[in-house]
């Protein structure tokens, strides 16, 4: 499946390939060089980025970030070397390299950032670049779906985390991790602690694929194999683990933290182990064991004791080494045989001895067999589990036991079975992979062995500083291969025994699990589809409700909003203005008459169903308004009003000649709901008018115009002077508007005829 594309002739991916290998290699050496300085004292370096928002581009170099930086660049080198050969002839290989390097930058920034906001930005860079990488085979619908699923799940978690970060920043007054991590006691005592913690965990759990957010990770295996090896075993999915480890001094060590992390982590670990047995595609098997490892890491960070943190940091390194090696190994097998099916592959050791060696080294470490570093990891996990108190000890130990047994079985399935026995037929004739692809898995496998034999190096440079960074204490860390006969060793031996028995029966177990899964009503992946469908349905329902295409509905909502907002403000603020003259003594009978005419005219327009009556009534209203202008000293306005009123009546009448009659009065023609909205609008408007007329009047502008009208503009009619002199530009704009309206109306009327009337008769 990896080979069905038109090949481009490139040696090791061409320049893109060389650059992509050189960048992580150089960075890896740089970080190795930094290591001795960081072992004793963490360092903070940085520059101001957005000073106004207190966002610094600062890096925090301590054991934890260095461990991750080394994993990212070290495994990154192996993966880019591998991809140059694996995908180097793919037409889109340069694009692939861009995504991969973008991801690497995001990941490095994420682990090194000292500023929470910067951490978030890098976190999202990894989300977006992983979206692009998972969907690299963009012509496959499955790839696209998996990519989108990963993006949505981790992106949503990321937003929750941003919320947590902002609240945390508000509580502590800083976004600098190096300061926040020293304020743990204050944060834990704060009333918002629970909210902050849950928001952070939402980000961590989605990124690190904890149950119930786990389903995206196995789907993400749609990505090219090197991507799976890099992102979904060693780096990106561990970003969530990193976040929990990083925040442990600030948010950890409470019972809520303990129980949430150990329960979710434990359930994830065991669930994933069982699911791993169920798979036949070896890549999927590895994907589920990755979930298991993430659950285990979460559980130990939650447990929080010294041994638990040591176990977590140790297992972090152990897992990255063997899992990246195994993923790369299965990529070679896939590349050279054309299949990854565990039920088909058999007897490859003769054809692919070096691949087999890499697989064996990694798998023995995964199974936790001495003298590999995986054994030390498992011993420390048991030690940490047994060292807890009460139910926590039983829970964690039981989960570790179950998960370790499964890892032993999976180790057999992925590395023993495909290579042992007689060669079984495969789609392609198997042969050994090329050196660039073998180098990574072999070196990583060898490191598993070297660290197992010489745990002191790991202890001094990696696990010790990392543990101190996570726990925030100065405990000494001591790693050893042989710890004497103790409970952990006995559990280890039991693990091997149970694992061996299960490996012998694993095909029968797989058949049972498949049958069970077929009956099981819980399917997270299908649930995800239903969730998306639900969102789409909700959006459609909401659009249909709000934007239903009825102008009446839109108008009602608009007017109702006006009534409610303004009316409610009046009621809540008690802003009814009094002090206006309520007396009607001084009102001349003519004024009464005019106002009554206006009211009667407007009511008549509403009441009548005859067009001519309505036009006449509108004329009455217009002339009534003109009379008010005359009575209250506005002769110019009155003249304009009269002219316009005549024009309105003429225009409306002309248009009406061409339009149908108003519908006859019927029982349905009175609309009580609309009447209520209309009455409400009227009442609110009245109060508004009263408030305006009873309020203070600022006459400064008027006084100015009165004073300068004649001396400066030589006009005795102040209104005219304002219009043509002081506000000449406004008047010019007004003329423009009228001309525009005339042009637009002309365009509308030109060529208008009863064209589609017959066709659309309703």
């Amino acid at each position: 499946m990896a080979d069905d594309y038109p090949k481009v002739d490139r040696v090791m991916g061409g320049p893109a390939g060389w650059i992509s290998i050189a960048v992580p290699a150089v960075l890896f050496l740089y970080f190795i060089g930094l290591l001795p300085q960081i072992v004793d004292a963490p360092q903070v370096r940085g520059i101001d980025w957005v000073p106004s928002l207190d966002i610094r581009l600062s890096v925090l170099l301590d054991g934890l970030s260095m461990t991750f930086a080394l994993l990212i660049t070290g495994i990154g080198t192996a993966v880019t070397l591998y991809s140059a050969r694996y995908l180097g002839q793919h037409p889109d290989y340069p694009r692939f390299v861009c995504y991969l390097l973008m991801f690497m930058v995001g990941m490095l920034g994420l682990v090194l950032a000292d500023n929470l906001i910067a951490l978030f930005v890098f976190w999202e860079i990894t989300t977006i670049s992983s979206y692009l990488l998972i969907g690299f085979h963009a012509n496959s619908a499955k790839s696209r779906r998996s990519a989108l699923q990963a993006l949505l799940v981790t992106g949503t978690g990321g937003l929750a985390m941003l919320g947590g970060m902002i609240i945390l920043g508000t509580v502590t007054g800083t976004f600098e991790l190096s300061q926040i991590l020293t304020m743990g006691d204050m944060i834990r005592a704060h009333p918002w602690y629970m909210g902050i913690m849950l928001l952070f965990l939402a980000g961590a759990f989605t990124k690190s694929a904890q149950v119930p957010f786990h389903f995206w990770l196995p789907n993400a295996m749609a990505a090219p194999t090197p991507v799976s090896a890099y992102l979904h075993s060693a780096t990106m999915v561990k970003a969530g683990v990193f976040l929990m480890a990083r925040m442990n001094p600030a948010l950890g060590e409470t019972s809520a933290w303990f129980w949430i992390l150990t329960l979710f982590g434990g359930v994830t670990a065991v669930f994933a182990s069982v699911m791993a047995l169920r798979q036949t595609d070896i890549k999927q098997v590895l994907a589920y064991t990755t979930l298991m490892a993430l659950g285990t890491l979460t559980m130990f960070i939650g447990a929080g004791t010294h041994y638990a943190i040591v176990a977590a940091m140790l297992f972090l390194v152990v897992h990255s080494l063997y899992k990246a090696a195994l993923f790369l190994m299965i990529g070679i097998v896939d590349h050279e045989t054309g299949t990854r099916d565990a039920t088909v592959l058999r007897g490859l050791s003769k054809a692919m001895p070096l691949t087999g060696l890499a697989a064996a080294l990694a798998a023995i470490s995964m199974a936790g067999i001495p003298p590999m570093v995986g054994f030390i990891g498992k011993e420390f996990m048991y030690k940490a589990g047994l060292g807890l108190e009460g139910f926590g000890a039983i829970w964690v130990t039981a989960m570790i036991f179950a998960a370790s047994v499964m890892m032993f079985v999976v180790g057999g399935i992925v590395a023993l079975k495909p290579f042992r026995g007689d060669l079984a037929p495969t789609p392609q004739r198997p042969h050994e992979g090329p050196w660039p692809m073998l180098a990574g898995p072999l070196v990583l496998g060898a490191l598993s062995l070297i660290f197992g034999l010489l745990p002191g190096i790991l202890e001094h440079y990696i696990v010790g500083p990392a543990t101190r960074a996570v726990s925030g204490s100065d405990h000494e860390v001591h790693l050893y291969l042989w710890g004497g006969v103790n409970m952990a060793l006995i559990l280890s031996l039991l693990t091997f025994l149970a694992g061996w028995l299960m490996y012998r029966k694993h095909e029968a177990i797989r058949a049972r699990l498949t049958a069970f899964e077929a009956r099981s009503p819980i399917d997270f992946d299908a649930g995800w589809d239903r969730l998306l469908d639900g969102f789409k349905g909700f959006a459609a329902w909401q659009a249909a409700l709000i934007q239903n295409g009825s102008l009446q509905r839109y108008m009602s909502v608009t007017f109702l909003t006006f009534v409610v907002l303004v009316g409610l403000t009046y009621v809540l603020q008690g802003a009814f203005v009094t002090g206006i003259a309520f007396s009607t003594d001084s009102i001349h009978p003519i004024q009464w008459t005019v106002l009554a005419l206006i009211c009667a005219g407007s009511m008549l327009v509403v009441w009548t169903h005859s067009r001519m009556t309505a036009v006449a009534a509108m004329g009455v209203v217009g002339i009534g308004v003109a009379l008010i202008f005359i009575m209250f000293s506005a002769p110019d306005v009155a003249i304009t009003q009269l002219l316009v009123e005549v024009l309105v009546v003429v225009l409306v009448s002309v248009v009406m000649l061409r339009l149908p009659y108003l519908p006859r009065r019927s029982r349905a023609s009175f609309r009580p709901g609309h009447a209520l909205i209309a009455a409400g609008s009227g009442v609110v408007m009245t109060f508004l008018a009263v408030s305006i007329m009873a309020g203070d009047l600022d006459r400064r502008l008027t006084t100015y115009f009165e004073a300068v009208s004649y001396p400066e503009a030589h006009g005795r009619n102040i209104v005219n002077v304002i219009l043509v002199d002081f506000r000449a530009l406004d008047t010019f704009g007004e003329i423009t508007v009228v001309v525009m309206a005339a042009i637009a109306a002309f365009a509308l009327l030109r060529g208008a005829g009863p064209a589609r009337r017959d066709k659309e008769e309703m």
């Binding site: 008010i628 209250f632 225009l651 909205i677 009228v738 109306a745 589609r756």
Partner: protein, 124 residues
């Protein structure tokens, strides 16, 4: 008088809102005419009512003698009347053209941009 004017404005607004909520576009246009009258009155009233003293400057004087009506709202209302008229003329042309093209003056039947079938489909 101010109180009565405020009530008149309220009546005008109520009538125009009720008309604008009608599905017949002609009645909608009637509502528009009444609403612009109401708003003009409101602006005019906000400058206070002064009877019998137009904002004019007597011959030979440099400024109005005594208190005259507020000139500023009058200038604004003048502009508003003309703009309102432009709007009405355009709305009428639009109504006419709509009727010629669609054969209806009922807004519920003007569903070219938002067809009813789509809304129903989307709602399901």
């Amino acid at each position: 008088m101010e109180l009565l004017l405020a009530i008149t404005i309220g009546v005008l607004v109520a009538a125009s809102v009720y008309l604008m909520l009608d599905r017949n576009v002609l009645r909608f246009v009637f509502g528009l005419v009444l609403l612009s009258n109401a708003v003009n009155l409101l602006i005019f009233g906000s400058g206070r009512l002064t009877a019998g003293a137009p904002p004019l400057i007597d011959e030979g004087a440099y400024a109005p003698t005594g208190l005259v009506a507020n000139a500023l709202p009058q200038a604004l209302v003048l502009t508003a009347i003309v703009i309102g008229f432009g709007l009405l003329a355009f709305a009428l042309a639009l109504v006419y053209r709509t009727y010629m093209t669609l054969g209806t003056v009922n807004t519920d039947e003007m569903r070219v941009a938002e067809p009813v079938a789509d809304a129903k489909e989307a709602g399901q």
